[in-house]
Symmetry: C2
Subunit: 487 residues, 2 copies
């Protein structure tokens, strides 16, 4: 696509927006060059910071008229490059659209602007003993608009669901500046489910300007069980045993020894560094429910071969045990100049197998990898340590990550858990989906955005890209997927 | 669209399908002329009864080549005309694709063909103390494929969700005969959420040939509370009070006196016929959970002004109390030659207001209406009684129903709860959605089916139809919606 000269779009935006909404100086645009996936950087042609829906609409109309690409950005904490700017395009930041518009404790909903940080919603609902459940690690900073774009998760999504299960409606604008309202308070929604389609669509279909979320009652009580295992296989089996016993804990996390060893000197969480892997299993609810569930969890963990169990005896202890898990990624930053946090999902029963395969890959690529899992969901977050200043180091990390994702697909899983596809996993999309499936993605994208202006080049790989990836691929030109049914 | 002459399509199908798959004699085609919405009838040009995915694929390729419409049908129990045949098209019945392919108790999933009756899945899972949660009233007969097409609900969807919350994946074929697999066992799915888009799409996008469903543990205990109220307003307030108290019952149903009076002589459920309305509130879980929740429910109901409470003391009593609710529609058939079961959703707080408005409409249209609600979800099922042999009676029932649905939209609700749009609610879609929203539906439909062959004329009203409905509409040509935000 041929982008117009820079002055055209800046001048056209200045003509319809207040002066302080449009940033064009290089030093103003530079801070937007990347999101949390810092390996991909690109300074946008211009940054727009709207305060109102109407300013979003005017920005879209201008981009649409001039055929200029537009990339929306929440807080820039995304890990897959979903908000990496287009060098000839507009970067639309939702940072100033950050009002909580309504908290309705009777209907248990909140209406918020897209730039509101995830945790602020729970803070606004706290006087009513309500909160918003999905809790990405970045929840202090990450915006609800970004959560909608990426269908974000968090440690408590095992019990409470991903963003798609907690957002009731969105209002947004098409690339042509038409307002669209999707969903609402009713459980069913007439017509095609464009709400679910929009959630996780990474800004390729609509620009969301308002989000209606479900609030839930804050559980009166929570308790955390830490279990130690002598090998990763038995830790993996214990995860499957808990789920098979009919228990859905509030959270069910796993860290291998490489992860606990990285985090413990930094956070002093009290982790068992002798264990090959630990599980963190949380129960929440009424005191009676928690007591009953914790007993059941302890019973199952012992039967599954736990070498030690520790149950939090106070809220302070519970939070300290969590602090290690929540600081696993920053801890990686202390061990290594750079780290690459992966995100894939596998059937729970394969956890041990995948950890062994990752150990083999560590030797093969000459890079260390520590492992943190949302184990209850089968959602892996291997953290590959590398040094971007060392030539070839990022390329090896990138290939290491791609091989982990392909293993996820081979085992019947997927290339994402909660971080989205963005720029990062375009090649892996070629592995996960057949040509017919990718064609369906393209057709839907084209239905909303025929000129391909909204976040171009993300989420859906082109045919050419998949062909190219196929040619250079270890499998000798053929994608492994198409004839393997996924279920 | 110009359909080819009848012999072309029959001959072409006979060339690629076994003889017993193709029904062309008038007496063989006649039984397929309508689904549960019997006011709409149309005999298909030919009926195809495939046994395999490959036969579905061949049927699609043939229709695609000859540009012949195709309507898929499960068990024909749908209530919105979603399976009404096209007179020049193929009716594809999934009745012979009715195998349970796999029950996996460890991963708690079942893989089934689309023609499997809903209840058969739970029967197949019963040896593992598991079941499939969504429970439409027609669950003995209705197929999982039809449930997927309509995003069906049931009395227990308040706690366990609609079909979209319980289906993990589907396999299907595009109109061009390409296989597509959507979803899977992982909680997130990379790329656009085409699985949620497909569920409730009424056969307009894909033909589903396999469904992967979530199974959940059968609760060990369940108890039902029946509460009587002297007026419908306080029954409505009691519903809101239960939800506001933080309790999610397994089911929360409401019947007005017209409904209980219709059903009691027929079923002898033991309903309080003095009450203006009754609530049926179910709790399920472990015995401790149920005891605790039932106490809380009784407390809230008393505080909300219940004039009498009865708690089921045995499983037989619980099932007897349910039998009245479950036979409400057949009971309507004893009171009146015909009945028209509506399906709309409103915010719970408006239940009393809607019941009063329906009483006014009964007088206006000269027709009786009894009311059965999935009250916890705000999902209304007014049952309008009429006599199709009386001239003008169906037309009045039709207008009565449309007015109820428009009231739902005006109150911030929607025109569907769990029965879909089909042919029935096309006009109401003009009221619910703005032109930009309908254009988005059309664009997505076109992305999957550019020639408009799959279930044409359903779900999405044409621009011309909405314009026509606008002209004849009481609001004097303008749809009430577009400038009223829905949330």
């Amino acid at each position: 696509m041929e982008a117009p000269e820079l002055p055209d779009i800046v001048g056209a935006l200045r003509a319809v927006l207040p002066a302080e909404c449009v940033l064009e100086r290089a030093e103003e645009r530079r801070p937007y060059e990347c999101d949390g996936l810092t390996a991909f950087r690109s300074v946008p042609a211009v940054v727009v910071l709207p305060r109102t829906e109407d300013e979003v609409r005017r920005t879209l109309l201008t981009c649409h008229r001039l055929k200029v690409p537009l990339v929306a950005r929440g807080s820039g904490t995304g890990l897959s490059g979903g908000a990496t700017p287009h060098p000839a395009g507009v970067l639309l930041s939702c940072a100033r659209m950050s009002r909580v518009l309504e908290v309705d404790p009777i209907n248990r909903i909140a209406r918020v602007e897209p730039g509101v940080p995830n945790l602020k919603i729970s803070e606004a609902a706290a006087p009513h003993q309500l909160y918003y459940a999905p809790d990405p690690s970045s929840q202090v900073a990450c915006s609800i608009g970004g959560n909608v774009a990426e269908n974000s998760g968090g440690v408590h999504c095992l019990k409470y669901g991903l963003t798609v299960h907690n957002v009731l409606g969105v209002r947004g604008y098409t690339v042509a500046g038409e307002r669209i309202e999707l969903g609402g308070q009713a459980p069913d929604s007439a017509g095609l489910d464009l709400l679910a389609l929009t959630i996780g669509s990474e800004g390729l279909l609509l620009i969301v300007t308002e989000v209606l979320v479900r609030l839930i009652p804050r559980p009166p009580c929570a308790q955390l069980v830490m279990a130690s295992f002598a090998d990763v296989q038995s830790a993996g089996s214990a995860v499957a045993a808990i789920i098979a016993a009919g228990t859905i804990p509030a959270a069910l996390e796993m860290m291998d020894r490489k992860a606990t060893a990285a985090v413990e000197p930094f956070v002093h969480a009290g982790y068992d560094l002798q264990a090959a892997a630990i599980l963190l299993v949380e129960s929440d609810g009424t005191p009676e429910e928690v007591r009953e569930q914790v007993q059941e969890i302890e019973r199952v963990l012992r039967a599954a071969g736990a070498t030690a169990l520790r149950v939090s005896e106070s809220e302070a202890e519970r939070l300290r045990l969590w602090s290690g898990r929540k600081n696993a990624f920053p801890a990686a930053g202390r061990l290594s100049p750079d780290y690459y946090c992966m995100d894939g999902t596998i059937p729970r029963k394969h956890v041990g197998h995948v950890l062994e395969a990752i150990e083999r890959m560590e030797r093969e690529y000459g890079l260390r990898c520590m492992n943190v899992f949302h184990a209850g969901d089968g959602n892996l977050h291997p953290v590959i340590l590398f040094d971007a200043n060392e030539p070839g180091s990022w390329e090896r990390a990138d290939r290491f990550g791609a091989e982990i994702l392909e293993l996820c697909v081979q085992l019947g899983g997927t290339i994402t858990g909660e971080h989205g596809v963005g720029l990062e996993k375009l090649n892996s999309m070629c592995v996960q989906f057949s040509p017919a499936e990718r064609a369906a993605f393209f057709a839907v994208k084209e239905a909303f955005d025929p000129d391909g202006l909204l976040n171009p080049g993300k989420l859906i790989p082109t045919l050419a890209r998949c062909a190219e990836y196929g040619r250079m691929h270890v499998h000798g030109g053929a994608m492994p997927h198409p004839d393997l049914p996924r279920f």
